[in-house]
């Protein structure tokens, strides 16, 4: 299946066109909503658009429940995964177990050098023209991180396709597309078996490999009750599926979007290139995540209320949302809310962290936040260091999207 397109064919027809036009022009719509209708709703679907309200929604995890459990069960074969849990002892156990083996020190000692090396090799080998989404970012993400996780696909399996489909099913399939479900019903058990096999093989071979899988198995062996410690086979499997299917499809979305936003702003691009050439990774990250503020991962995150909640209590826009409602927390809108973000329409690479909600907040803040913050800028860094970086003339030189996914962006540079 190598060579298959990780993205499904684009939707066609008038509705899809209107949808994609709206999707591309969300910021002014949100601007208007924040001003005149900050908590819009249609039936049982609500949306929070102001910074304060979005923040409250993310932080108030007991009331704003993540709605992921149903589909997660499909993917994980019914084994609970922390992404779908409330703040329970099981949640803390599972997250804690993974934090103990996905260590902060790995980023500096292992992932950053590896990413730098591979990214430079990809760009150096591309000879003056490169497609950013797949050839550069997706490839790098899957190569570097799967090696770190210890997840290797057997011949004939393209994890990029499997993971991206499962990701779409989990996070971007609001209409429950039956054709997607058909694919998921094939890939989800496939991935389960694949990981099960990996675990079995590793245990059998007795090889001592220092990756996430290896560490998990070691922790399992060292623990009298692996289940209680969070390292049973099924827990390890769920975590690895979660990382691969939930995490890896994201950098190929955001890194090209950041590049596109930089290409739109010559000053910002020059600044980012300068930072890349000076090896100032902190400054470079500032440019990349500021660019993303103008086109983040998505417009909003869904939550489901488990009780009646009065949002913005004590203010004039206070509104009570009933139990059971689906509430979309628009972090895209929040990051452009001038009530809390200084000069939101200005590109400023030195913003404080409070201006960003790229990774959500609170209990379900992205598990990979630190890895992403460190690695995403590095995926673009070798490209930014090149002289003469520009769009490829023609439509390929502008970021095309397929649904919420970045599809294609070709840039040129002096080889």
């Amino acid at each position: 299946m190598t060579g298959a397109d990780p993205l499904r064919p684009a939707a066609t027809g008038f509705g899809a066109k209107v949808g994609s036009f709206l999707f591309a022009h969300l910021p002014p719509v949100f601007g208007l909503l924040r001003w005149i209708w900050p908590v819009p709703h249609f039936g049982a679907t609500w949306m929070l658009t102001r910074y304060d309200d979005v923040r409250e929604g993310f932080l108030n995890d007991p009331a704003f429940m993540v709605p992921y459990k149903g589909k997660l069960d499909v993917i994980m074969g019914g084994v609970p995964f922390f992404l779908g849990m409330a703040d329970t002892p099981e949640y803390r156990r599972d997250v804690g177990a993974m934090r103990a083996i996905v260590r902060p020190a790995d980023i500096k000692d292992r992932l950053i050098p590896e990413m730098n090396k591979r990214a430079e090799a990809v760009v150096a080998g591309a000879n003056g023209e490169i497609e950013v989404v797949d050839t550069l970012v997706r490839q790098l993400t899957f190569d570097v991180l799967n090696e770190y996780f210890g997840v290797f696909a057997p011949p004939g399996v393209d994890l990029r396709v499997w993971a991206t489909r499962l990701f779409e099913f989990q996070f971007a399939d609001q209409s429950n597309d039956p054709s997607l479900r058909k694919e998921v019903d094939q890939y989800a058990p496939g991935l389960l078996t694949l990981i099960d096999n990996l675990i079995a093989e590793r245990r059998q071979s007795g090889a001592d490999i220092d990756d996430v899988l290896g560490r998990a198995l070691k922790a399992q062996a060292a623990s009298p009750d692996p289940e209680a410690a969070g390292y049973s086979d099924k827990q390890i499997r769920s975590a690895l599926i979660g990382f691969v299917a939930g995490g890896l499809p994201q950098p190929p979305m955001i890194a090209p979007q950041a590049m596109e936003q930089l290409l739109r702003r010559p000053d910002a691009l020059a600044g980012a290139q300068d930072a890349a050439r000076r090896d100032d990774d902190v400054a470079l990250a500032g440019y990349v995540f500021e660019a993303l503020r103008f086109d983040p991962l998505g417009p909003a995150m869904p939550r489901v209320l488990v009780e009646d909640v009065t949002v913005a209590q004590g203010t004039s826009r206070a509104v009570t949302i009933p139990k059971g409602a689906t509430v979309y927390l628009s972090f895209m809108s929040a990051m452009r809310d001038p009530r809390r973000v200084a000069d939101p329409d200005t590109f400023n690479p030195k913003r404080p962290s409070s201006d960003y909600i790229h990774f959500g907040m609170g209990l379900h803040q992205c598990f990979g936040i630190h890895i992403n913050m460190a690695l995403v800028p590095l995926m673009l860094k070798p490209l930014l260091r090149r002289e003469g970086l520009r769009r490829k003339p023609g439509p390929d030189g502008h970021l095309a999207k397929r649904g919420p996914f970045a599809d294609r962006l070709v840039v040129q540079y002096r080889p």
């Binding site: 209590q313 004590g314 809390r340 200084a342 030195k350 404080p352 201006d355």
Partner: protein, 519 residues
């Protein structure tokens, strides 16, 4: 470029005051121990709240009131983003601090409950915004200079100094050539030199400043003349004239000024006795015009104007006399009870960096006239300073970064904050010796202030009494932050001039020499 000066003042549950102080000290301790940058404290706050210039958090005790928590903030831009940045950093601490405060009544209550409820995760910023107390008058030393710009210009200034130190060969060049040499090198490192900066005072702000002052003056004149207009429109012309003259005569009898040695003039105005005579004359003149125009010429328009003039003169005279009567009888506290331990705490916290901070809260004298005059006085002073003190100078001194006065405790107390260069002694001496009038005007309504005359005279000139009074009203802040601990107001302006020079492609020799003197 807009800058905001504000404070949040909340009553504290007395039993929780010491816990509150501990929370605030905890923030300070965390900031002073967590170092991410080799030679800088308060890194988290500096980077996390890039809009912030100066901030203090203080629990102020008072024998007559429950303690209050005062959060004083001076920052760039509008309040919303600032609070979001601060909350992002200190969300837990701020919520715990609010929990030590008394539950406010009125419209703040629902918000307070929401924010302080157990396990609450509601945004704190909306409450802090709603609880904001705006200054009655404020002063900004480096108006329109955001911190971000001062930091850039500091780096540029240091760059220039280093080059001049390291390249003795430049000494044999002309100033124009030195300028060119520095500019060429600086452009590579500081590309912003090629971009225009936002003006320090925008056109809109400029128009607003003038409109405010003119509006204030028009309103003041209206308030003084309207009684004449109303009386004249209902009664015959002799009545307002008679009332005006009676008022002026009453004022004349009650003024004590003739017994005192003449007071000096103020800001180019003649001294008070001359002004008072003049005002009496104006009232009399108005009365004569009003009656004369009505009786003999039958010009009712002119008569009305006369009545208004008479009204203004008489009211002013009455107000001055009333003030004089009040001031003569005012008790002042010649020996405020100085708590040595409190003063020691203040002194121990002072003179650590280039700037110092003071917070003082005083009670206000009673009476309707005082209540009106202190508000109108501070209001007008504020508008006046916006125009007069744009370059940061108050009289001949330029040492204040941010200062403000605000009414607290439902208008019964006056709070003063200042973030200034140099020592507390030198700051007060500056006022005593150079700018006592403005200070006396703002503070002479405070209970116990050294005896003042006509609101603006004497008062602060009583050096020792004034210093004792000021000290005893102060509290050592549990937390105080300066975003640039070695920059004076003067140095920030000096850096602006150096940067401005470097923005210009070439300078002729005379201008270049003038520019080079700043280095």
């Amino acid at each position: 470029m807009r800058q905001t000066v504000l404070s949040v003042v909340l009553e504290v549950q007395p039993a929780s005051a010491s816990r509150l102080r501990e929370i605030i000290r905890g923030i300070r301790k965390a900031e002073e121990t967590v170092k991410t940058d080799a030679d800088w404290y308060y890194d988290r706050l500096r980077h996390g709240v890039p809009l912030l210039q100066f901030m203090s958090m203080t629990v102020c005790e008072d024998a007559q009131f429950d303690p209050v928590l005062v959060i004083e903030c001076n920052f760039d831009g509008a309040p919303g983003p600032f609070w979001a940045q601060l909350e992002n950093l200190y969300s837990k601490e701020l919520r715990d601090m609010l929990r030590c405060c008394q539950r406010p009544r009125g419209k703040l209550q629902a918000l307070f409950d929401h924010v302080t409820a157990p396990e609450s995760r509601a945004a704190i910023a909306p409450f802090l915004e709603a609880a904001t107390i705006w200054p009655a008058v404020f002063h900004i030393g480096n108006r329109g200079l955001p911190r971000e710009r001062s930091e850039r210009e500091t780096a540029l200034f240091d760059y220039c100094q280093k080059r001049l130190d390291d390249e003795p060969a430049l000494r044999s060049r002309t100033a124009t050539e030195v300028h060119a040499a520095l500019r060429t090198g600086a452009l590579a490192q500081f590309p912003w030199l090629n971009k225009p900066e936002q003006p320090q005072v925008s056109t809109a702000e400029n128009i607003a400043d003038w409109a405010n002052l003119i509006g204030f003056l028009v309103l003041a004149v209206a308030v003084l003349t309207v009684p004449g207009l109303l009386l004249r429109s209902t009664f015959p012309s002799w009545l307002p004239a008679l009332l005006g003259i009676l008022g002026t005569v009453w004022a004349g009898f009650h003024l004590n000024w003739m017994k005192d040695p003449a007071l000096p003039g103020l800001m180019g105005l003649p001294n008070p006795p001359v002004i008072i005579f003049g005002i009496g004359g104006v009232a009399l003149f108005g009365a004569v015009v009003s009656v004369g125009a009505d009786r003999f010429l039958h010009w009712s328009c002119v008569s009305t104007v006369g009545a208004m003039i008479c009204s203004a003169g008489a009211l002013l005279a009455v107000i001055l006399a009333w003030i004089d009567v009040l001031e003569t009888a005012d008790p002042s506290q010649t020996a405020p009870p100085l708590n040595e331990q409190k003063i020691r705490d203040q002194i121990a916290s002072e003179d650590r960096i280039t700037q110092n901070h003071m917070i003082s809260i005083v009670h206000l004298k009673p009476g309707v006239l005082r209540a009106i005059l202190i508000r109108a006085g501070l209001w007008g002073l504020g508008y006046f300073l916006r125009l007069q003190a744009r370059d940061g100078y108050l009289a001949s001194m330029r040492t204040i970064h941010f200062a403000h006065w605000a009414f607290v405790s439902n208008g019964s107390r006056l709070m003063f904050h200042s973030n200034f260069d140099g020592t507390w002694e030198s700051y007060l001496d500056d006022f005593i010796e150079k700018a006592h009038a403005g200070l006396t005007l703002a503070w002479s309504s405070g209970v116990g202030f050294p005896p003042a005359r006509f609101l603006a005279f004497e008062g602060a000139t009583h050096g020792l009494a004034f210093k004792n009074w000021a000290r005893h009203s102060m509290t050592a802040s549990q937390f105080w932050f300066s975003a640039y601990r070695d920059l004076t107001v003067n140095q920030i302006e000096r850096q602006v001039l150096v940067a401005d020079g470097l923005r210009t492609p070439t300078l002729p020799e005379v201008k270049a020499a003038d520019w080079a003197r700043r280095l």
